[in-house]
């Protein structure tokens, strides 16, 4: 039996559909991320699970028990709010102890559990501080402690790190992940930050316009994006239109709709494709190779291109290329991106260099449209 089950929930505000037929389930100790652009319905989904919003349709089960009719105060879920929502008129200790106090936990036990929770988030000794004396990172930790101290069945995180700068965000992400695994607490996490989703999640659901687009492990979603939207949203992708011209065993050949260049690759979905199907050809920047010179005429999985810009991004060099063949149709302004880690092997390519860009068939993803 899954620990949390969300079954066909739907929520509309007037004529706007916030969440459309959302279903998923979660085993105990798993961390699931709802990932999508702002306004995609992920926070609404979270609020419905928390009981802060009533769904128009659908059911929520926690440990097999239907909780639709329980108010937020009676549900075994706790949400960490995006701006933390710490109570400014209470000390850190009172904030963290608030949930326990509401549950009628005796003072002695409350105090020891608050102390423990604050130590867990490395804020031991700050119990008597006022909330407005804390830094952003400390506030985030207090919010986390306030939720964890209640030992909820399901922890709900609403963009918990979005108000922090990059370095701190990365640090707290790792800390939270460790804590979550240590405590084995079932967690739903909402973010628009795909890197954060990759770091934290056991499983990701990509959402757009209130609907679930794809569900899978971070690796699955990155390696096999089921739609152009997902390919674009998770990591960087070079995407262009094509048509299936050959159906081999396990692999397909697609022809660029504009240049006729042939790409041998794999399907990102279970269902099979037929000759003539329209696909989006997806090449990840780090999966492409570059060679000096131009490819042989008519060769598969190769494009001739010119280096426009070169950026050193620390461990990789990112090249922005203009492709000589019209794979983007009329839109010549789209850059083809290649990220290269093998600096030693062939050195760097300077601006203006003519190169041949290739990609091995297992890395060419053909997304059926």
């Amino acid at each position: 039996m899954p620990h949390l089950e969300v079954d066909g929930i739907r929520k509309t505000y007037g004529s706007v559909t916030a969440v459309e037929d959302m279903s998923f389930s979660l085993d105990e100790g798993d961390l699931l991320t709802l990932l999508g652009p702002s306004g995609c319905g992920k926070t609404t989904t979270l609020d419905i699970i928390a009981g802060l919003t009533r769904p128009d349709h659908g059911d929520i089960f926690i440990n097999g028990e239907r909780v639709n009719d329980l108010g937020p105060e009676n549900r075994d879920t706790v949400k960490v709010f995006q701006e933390y929502a710490l109570f400014p008129h209470m000390t850190v200790g009172r904030n963290v102890g608030f949930g326990l106090e509401m549950d009628g936990v005796a003072r002695d036990e409350r105090e020891s559990r608050v102390k423990e929770a604050l130590e867990m988030v490395q804020l031991g000794g700050l119990a008597d501080r006022k909330v407005d004396e804390l830094s952003g990172g400390q506030r985030q930790r207090v919010a986390t402690a306030r939720a964890l101290v209640k030992e909820p069945a399901v922890l709900l995180l609403d963009e918990p790190f979005s108000a922090l700068d990059l370095k701190l965000r990365e640090q707290l992400q790792v800390e939270l992940k460790k804590l979550q695994e240590e405590l084995g607490i079932t967690t739903i996490h909402v973010t628009h930050d795909q890197e954060e989703a990759m770091v934290l999640s056991d499983r990701i659901i990509v959402m757009n316009d209130g609907a679930k687009l794809q569900e899978g492990s971070p690796m699955d979603i990155y390696e096999s994006p089921g739609s152009e939207f997902v390919a674009n949203f998770i990591g960087k992708s070079n995407l262009f239109d094509g048509t299936i011209v050959e159906n081999g065993s396990g692999s397909y050949v697609a022809e660029s709709s504009y240049s006729g260049t042939r790409f041998r690759g794999v399907s990102t979905r279970e269902d099979s494709m037929a000759v003539g199907d329209d696909v989006t050809i997806c090449l990840r920047p780090e999966k492409c190779d570059m060679q000096p010179g131009t490819p042989e005429a008519g060769s598969e999985n190769a494009l001739s291109a010119t280096v426009d810009h070169k950026f050193l991004l620390g461990s990789v060099v990112q090249y922005r290329l203009s492709v000589d063949e019209p794979i983007y149709g009329d839109r010549a302004d789209i850059d083809f991106i290649v990220e290269d880690k093998n600096l030693a092997e062939h050195g760097e390519f300077d601006k203006g260099t003519a190169v041949s860009v290739g990609c091995r068939p297992e890395f060419v993803k053909l997304i059926k449209r």
Partner: protein, 305 residues
């Protein structure tokens, strides 16, 4: 130390030593032209009249432009007369009662206005609050008279329902003043609370609910403490306005006097300006004391919590 750091250090030094003192001085000069007109107005129309009032209250006779012998006589007369003591107590209690009632009634209204997502509903509520202010308080108060009199709407209605036989006495006593003033000052309480409640993020309430607080506890543990400033401000405002109000008590109170009507009697009918001035000073003294104490309590509470 790198060149950049040295440069930055030098810039900070120059700023601290030469620029900042100049800026500070400039800002203190600026206060004169900005505060000036207001200050002048206050001196002419507030401080001077009060000084004159104080001096009249310490004299036995009133002759314009002259100062006769100073005496505590007027104040002694007030302290030794049960009528004045009763009037003072009635006035202060009225202030507390009206302020508390308007805040209690106004709180849910203010909450609703700040939380409703319907813009139209907010406008309707705001209009309901403001529109009565477009009518003269005299007219509104006579309206209450029609409702509350022994043969007024309310008593007629109550007799019709059979709940009462004779009449409930609702005017020419404290009840009349109380009902009238609650109506007059309710909008002030609402507006004062709205400012305060509007600053409380709805997330605070959601977070409290989510952590296990019932609706009642959200009010007592989150909303009330966080709107303390609005409550205090509203209380002081309505209290001060109530104890100094004249029109409503004089129409709905009948022979039941409050300080303002007593002062009017002494100025208008008995032409004892000196006693009236002393009464005014006593009233003001109590008002200021209440304001100072509650302000102090409010400040202190704010820091402790």
């Amino acid at each position: 130390m790198s060149i950049i750091e040295t440069g930055r250090q030098a810039r900070t030094d120059i700023y601290q030593r030469y620029v900042k003192p100049g800026l500070d001085q400039l800002s203190s000069f600026k206060t004169v032209p900005t505060l000036g007109p207001g200050l002048l107005f206050l001196i002419v129309f507030f401080f001077l009249p009060i000084v004159i009032l104080v001096s009249i209250s310490f004299q036995a006779e009133f002759v314009a432009g002259t100062v006769s012998e100073l005496t505590f006589g007027n104040y002694l007369k007030i302290v030794n007369d049960q009528y004045f003591i009763n009037t003072l107590i009635r006035t202060l209690l009225m202030g507390v009662a009206v302020a508390t009632t308007t805040l209690a009634i106004g709180y849910p209204v203010a909450y609703h206005i700040t939380r409703t997502e319907s813009g139209r509903r907010r406008v309707v509520f705001m209009l309901m609050i403001i529109v009565p202010y477009l009518t003269s308080v005299v007219v509104r108060t006579f309206g209450w008279l029609i409702i509350l009199l022994e043969n007024g709407f309310l008593n007629t209605f109550l007799r019709w329902t059979g709940l009462i036989n004779g009449a409930v006495k609702l005017v020419n006593n404290e009840w009349g003043i109380y009902i009238g003033l609650v109506h007059v000052f309710l909008p002030i309480a609402v507006i004062s609370l709205m400012t305060s409640l509007g600053k409380i993020e709805p997330e605070m309430e959601h977070a409290a609910r989510d952590l296990g607080a019932s609706r009642v506890r959200v009010v007592t543990r989150i909303l009330l403490p966080l709107s303390k400033r609005g409550l205090l401000g509203g209380f002081l405002l309505v209290f001060a306005l109530t104890i100094s109000s004249f029109t409503t008590p004089s129409i709905l109170g009948g022979n039941t006097e409050v300080m303002a009507t007593a002062i009017y009697t002494y100025v208008g009918y008995l032409t004892n300006f000196n006693l009236a001035a002393a009464l005014a000073m006593v009233l003001m003294g109590f008002a200021v004391t209440v304001i100072v104490i509650s302000n102090y309590l409010g400040q202190r509470r704010m820091e402790v919590v």
